[in-house]
Amino acid sequence: MSAPDFYFGVNVVFQHIHDHFGKATLIDYWQNLGRDYYHERNMRWQAGGIPTIADDWRDYFDREPNADVDVTTTDDAVTLDIHVCPAIHHLRQHNRDIVPYYCEHCDHVCGAQAQAAGFRFERTGGMGACQQRFVKISVTGGA
């Protein structure tokens, strides 16, 4: 049920939590969502490691309308080259005001997911195109 108008709802929920409860709560919401809502997915990532994470994201973006994403792996990381972010694409296509912190949700949701699975999350770029990496903590020695 990949209905792109749901991106409108995502954008408004972020705005609502930000405006009513503040940025710190919005970040807490994102982090909890990554840890709790995606708990089962995180456990699969932890169990299966890099190939599982890569396959998961290929499957995920296959079901997101207009997504253009390359998923590649190395021994210690999964890299998502997001040429077209489906959410930003749809929001722009429909002239919606995109909250300026929209892309930060990936840092905190994916960051919490990555941490639960034994990885750390990195993002460069945003607002329509970016690169995201899930890097194995044990290899990098990171915390």
Binding site: M1, S2, A3, P4, D5, F6, Y7, F8, G9, V10, N11, V12, V13, Q15, H16, I17, H20, F21, T25, Y29, N32, L33, D36, Y37, H39, E40, Y60, F61, R63, E64, P65, I82, C85, P86, A87, H94, R96, H105, C106, V109, C110
Partner: protein
């Protein structure tokens, strides 16, 4: 990223987050703000009235794969939908998700504000929390043709008998059980029912339920499960409330006793409507649809539905309810494992959420029971006495 494919799941989770962070009123405010996300409906409705809503909704129906009937009668000033299987609620049911109290209510939460902005109103709406609903919109101040009884009327579908019903008329949510309470919120209905109760007794079917200590300490307001209500095995008097287990096999007996009781002495029927369990056919047994129990437990943060993990038995849900009501409580006969011994009489095995004796209780676990009894104990502290 947060995609649109699993939006409904984390949407429900988000409602739960806001409720836990603030309160249920904050969730209602969030729903009203969601109407901003539906600007395309508002724009279309401002331009073309009900026709605009109809055209926009048809596009959504394609995207979301609605299984529904949708009728616009412009001459009759009526826009009517009959949802056979809601993909949104269906996603939650299929994935065993129930983070917030009442996911279905969010639709009226955004539809009513959008309708109001374009000069329309919801004449009537019902949903059964099992993925089916219907709604009737009209432009305000003009007569509107009723569509009840039309060929696709979802309320004539046998599956409509599943779940529990919430109803709106003229943009207002109606009382859940008008004869019992003016409240339109299931949580308030339960609180109202127990408002004058000084102390509660929760009676399971373990050995302690019938011993001398329990007989001496049982209060006037007793909560039992469906099996005890049906068989009177450990309590023959009139309980004030029943928690009907998620796999009840005694609905016929419950119905027989319920209807043999004068209306003013009947107990409040409650049920968890857990998404991972089969939906019980209450109407088939001429039983009123029980009041949902999860909302009050979620609101009081005594229960959290974690997908694909064990959940409490009916009697422990009853104990959690007593804790949610914050009343002095006596609990006896809670040890559910006692009922699983091979030599346990069949009618007593039904007490484990009325589970079939041949069905392993995979939906329950001792750890889950212990955790939730501890939660009730932590809430009530010295106002709870548990007798084995």
């Amino acid at each position: 990223m947060l995609g649109c494919q699993d939006f409904c799941g984390y949407y429900d989770w988000s409602f739960g987050y806001v409720r836990k962070h603030k309160d249920i009123d904050a969730v209602h405010k969030l729903w009203a703000d969601i109407s901003i996300a539906q600007q395309h409906y508002t724009d279309a409705g401002m331009t073309d009235g009900l026709r605009g809503l109809y055209d926009t909704w048809c596009g959504t129906a394609v995207d979301e794969h609605f299984d529904w009937s949708f009728t616009l009668d412009e001459a009759g000033n009526t826009l009517r939908w009959d949802m056979k299987q809601c993909p949104s609620k269906g996603f939650l049911i299929d994935n065993d998700l129930h983070s917030d109290e009442d996911y279905c209510d969010h639709c009226m939460g955004w539809i009513i504000p959008v309708a109001d902005q374009i000069g329309a109103e919801v004449v009537a709406h019902e949903h059964n929390h099992a993925g089916q609903c219907w709604g009737h919109l009209r432009m305000k101040g003009q007569p509107s043709k009723a569509f009840e009884g039309h060929a696709d009327d979802i309320t004539a579908d046998p599956l409509w008998q599943r779940g529990h019903i919430d109803r709106w008329e003229n943009d207002v949510k109606l009382p859940v059980i008008p004869e019992a309470s003016p409240a339109n919120d299931a949580v308030d209905v339960i609180r109202h029912w127990f408002a004058d109760v000084k102390a509660i007794t929760v009676l399971g079917q373990g050995p302690g339920a019938t011993d001398h200590w329990t007989a001496q300490h049982t209060t006037d307001s007793v909560i039992v499960t469906d099996a005890t209500y049906a068989t009177k095995d450990v309590y023959a008097d009139s309980p004030c409330a029943i928690v009907i287990g998620d796999q009840s096999q005694v609905l016929a007996e419950v119905s027989e006793r319920f209807h043999a009781t004068p209306p003013d002495q009947r107990p409040l029927l409650m049920h968890t409507y857990l998404p991972g369990e089969a939906m019980l056919p209450f109407a088939q047994y001429n039983l009123p649809r029980p009041v949902p129990l999860l909302p009050i437990l979620l609101r009081e943060q005594l229960y959290e539905h974690i997908p694909h993990t064990p959940h409490p038995t009916a009697i422990v849900f009853a104990l959690l309810l007593a804790a949610a009501l914050n009343k002095p409580t006596i609990a006896a006969g809670l040890d559910w494992q006692e009922h699983l011994h091979d030599n346990t009489p069949a009618h007593k095995k039904h007490s484990v959420d009325s589970a079939s004796p041949t069905t392993p209780p995979s939906t329950h676990s001792q750890a889950c029971e212990r955790l939730h009894i501890q939660r009730a104990t932590a809430r009530l502290r010295d106002r709870l006495q548990i007798h084995p």
